[in-house]
């Protein structure tokens, strides 16, 4: 278990991490989300003892990282920036790390085989592509068969196959009871892997809850209604104020004539329609996608960081090519205002569970990862 308590880090005048408190439980994948520059990498570096916090503590099973006796056997970490000497071969890189922990040489071969780098083991790491470098980083993280994994943007630079591989690897490790803490700026990626979310913006905690709860808490809930008598139903729904709903009910008409009802559950609409003897053809609750929920919650912190992080564009481009085509990162929040959900070009009938199945591997544009290779 990773425990972060009141953690703060300033770089000069800029506060990178602002009194963060959360914990990461074993046996599940905890996604660490935030826009670029929100402080995810810094938080991970603080947990790993690479940076000194101004205040607060970060412990792994109650012990500070710096006090771990054989740290790589306890915690495996993949950092966002490369941590490999470019002149050293993959094998020797892992070998020196293995030696520092008293791990046998055969672990090096195993780790290389696990990430599929056996054939290039003797090649200099400086000649590796982004994806190969990422695999080497993952091999280093898994070298000591650690109980806790801290992965900073692990899918960056991986091809679709690699993305799938790391996803399944994380799930298998979580199922084996390990603690998996993985950061991403892509909600869609997290939707497919994470069980639990820790969301930060501008270094401060925004949410620490399950993926479902995070979406449920998001602002936009609407119900899509198809009826041959739209104007009659709209009048009926808007006339009667819903109980306990301060905002009341709003009904909008989509381009294809369907009604989008906010402020009322599907059940209530169905009952109202029945009472008014209105025929319904479709009654579908809409849920904000994870992406939209995330946008909504971090809106305040995005604009500031979009300017301050020069890497935002590049990273978003690569990540967008891997995850799915929904959002190319968060550098341009104006592109998809969170309010305008169901009126888009895509059929607005996606049921909540489709969030997870739909943007998977088939529709992946591979240009980003090919360019990386």
């Amino acid at each position: 278990m990773i425990e972060v308590h009141d953690l703060s880090k300033r770089y000069g005048a800029k506060t990178a991490v602002d009194h963060l408190t959360f914990s990461v439980q074993p046996g599940r994948i905890t996604g660490f989300l935030g826009p670029n520059g929100a402080g995810k990498s810094t938080t991970m570096r603080l947990i790993l003892g690479l940076d000194r916090p101004q205040s607060g503590t970060a412990t792994i099973d109650g012990v500070r990282y710096a006090d771990l006796r054989e740290p790589l056997r306890k915690v495996g970490a993949l950092l966002e920036a490369r941590a490999v000497h470019t002149g050293r071969s993959a094998y020797n890189h892992l070998l020196c790390l293995a030696q520092s922990q008293g791990l046998p040489r055969k672990r090096v071969d195993e780790a290389l085989a696990l990430v599929g780098l056996t054939e290039v083991a003797k090649k200099r790491a400086g000649g590796f592509s982004l994806g190969m470098g990422q695999r080497l980083g993952i091999a280093a993280a898994l070298l000591g068969d650690p109980q806790v994994l801290i992965l900073d943007e692990p899918v960056n630079g991986l091809d679709p196959e690699g993305v799938l591989w790391i996803r399944n690897l994380m799930k298998a490790l979580a199922a084996a009871g390990k603690t998996i803490f993985v950061s991403s700026h892509l909600m869609s990626e997290m939707a497919q892997t994470a069980d639990h979310l820790v969301v930060i913006g501008r270094g401060a905690l925004i949410a620490d809850e399950s993926v479902d709860a995070f979406i449920a808490r998001s602002s936009d809930h609407s119900v899509l209604v198809r009826t041959p008598q739209p104007s009659q139903l709209a009048k009926e729904l808007e006339r009667t104020p819903a109980e306990g709903e301060a905002d009341g009910v709003t009904v909008a008409t989509a381009e294809d004539g369907a009604l989008i009802v906010r402020g009322m559950t599907a059940q209530e609409i169905g009952e109202k329609a029945a009472a008014a003897r209105v025929v319904l053809h479709e009654l579908t609750p809409q849920r904000a996608s994870l992406e939209e929920a995330f946008m909504e919650m971090t809106r305040g912190s995005v604009e500031y960081h979009a300017d301050s992080d020069p890497q935002a564009g590049a990273v978003g481009g690569i990540g967008g090519g891997i995850g799915d085509a929904v959002a190319p990162g968060f550098a341009a929040p104006a592109a998809a205002p969170p309010g305008a959900v169901p009126a888009g070009a895509a059929p607005p009938t996606a049921a909540p569970s489709d969030n997870e199945a739909e943007p998977a591997e088939p529709a992946v544009p591979t240009s980003g990862s090919e360019a990386a290779e």
């Binding site: 771990l68 006796r69 970490a77 002149g87 071969s89 791990l103 696990l114 490790l173």
Partner: protein, 283 residues
């Protein structure tokens, strides 16, 4: 979520070795640093450059000296007669030692420039033992290579010089000077390592070391009177190289071992400072 891919089996790594086994961490760090050292090409090149440069220059300068002996200044002839060993070594070391300086700096700054330092610090989060292991490995290597070079240069150059100034291993101070040359290079390597750790950037650190080795000494001699003489005598490499002379010069303020002690002190202070900042700074 369960729609996993069949073609990418997620294997959970197995084969965890016995955990909690109590064993000294420092030998492990030594093994790590030795692997790091030998697995990068630049170290081999630097040592090879040092070897060839030093041996070649020692032989070349000694040959030039003997062939031009009759045209040489009497004071130069006297200097050769007083300390033939130091002259043989000195002619090669003036340039050759720069390779050791560069290597000593690069051993740590290349970790910063490539990001390897983060992997190192994750493996050894207490940091200072890692620096100590690195220093020990590098010290042993430079000492061994330094001794090979100093004895090699002596045995190659002494026969050439023999016609003008006969010198043999059994002469007073010769063996000490040859051993001292290796000790000097070892300490020079550690000196460069400490400055590299403090400065972290290759170019800046190399400039800093060269400034100490090649620039400060002539500068100090420009200081007036005995002040300049004393400052000059206590500069790290000026004091340190005395141990590689077979006989003291007429103007030396310090004895061979006193001078080496001064060099050790400089290096120790810098290494302690380096360890302190390494521990405190964000990696």
């Amino acid at each position: 979520m369960t729609a996993a891919t069949p073609d990418a089996p997620a294997t959970v790594p197995a084969g965890r070795p016995a955990e909690g086994r109590r064993s000294a961490a420092f030998p492990r760090l030594l093994a790590m640093e030795w692997t790091k050292f030998r697995s990068v090409r630049s170290t081999v090149w630097s040592l090879l450059a040092f070897l060839i440069l030093t041996l070649g220059l020692s032989v070349l300068f000694t040959w030039l000296t003997t062939s031009q002996w009759s045209k040489m200044d009497p004071s130069q002839q006297l200097d050769y007669r007083r300390d033939p060993t130091g002259n043989i070594l000195g002619s090669g070391f003036v340039l050759g030692q720069l390779a050791i300086c560069v290597l000593g700096v690069m051993v740590i700054t290349s970790e910063y420039s490539t990001g390897m330092i983060r992997a190192s610090v994750l493996a050894a989060p207490r940091r200072t033992p890692m620096l100590a292991a690195k220093a020990l490995v590098f010290a042993v290597v430079t000492f061994v290579v330094g001794e090979i070079v100093s004895f090699g240069a002596f045995f190659l150059a002494a026969p050439i010089l023999n016609s003008k100034v006969p010198v043999s291993l059994g002469d007073k101070g010769v063996l000490r000077a040859l051993l001292g040359a290796g000790l000097y290079l070892m300490m020079l390597g550690l000196f460069a390592l400490a400055i590299g750790t403090l400065i972290r950037h290759t170019a800046g650190a190399i400039t800093g070391v060269i400034a100490f080795v090649e620039v400060l000494a002539p500068l100090a001699q420009l200081l007036p009177g005995s002040l300049g003489k004393h400052v000059h005598a206590y500069l790290p490499t000026e004091a340190g190289h005395l141990v590689a002379q077979s006989a003291p010069g007429p103007n030396d303020l310090l004895s061979a071992w006193q001078g080496y002690g001064v060099f050790c002190l400089w290096t120790a202070v810098l290494l302690i400072a380096a360890g302190w900042v390494l521990k405190r700074r964000d990696a």
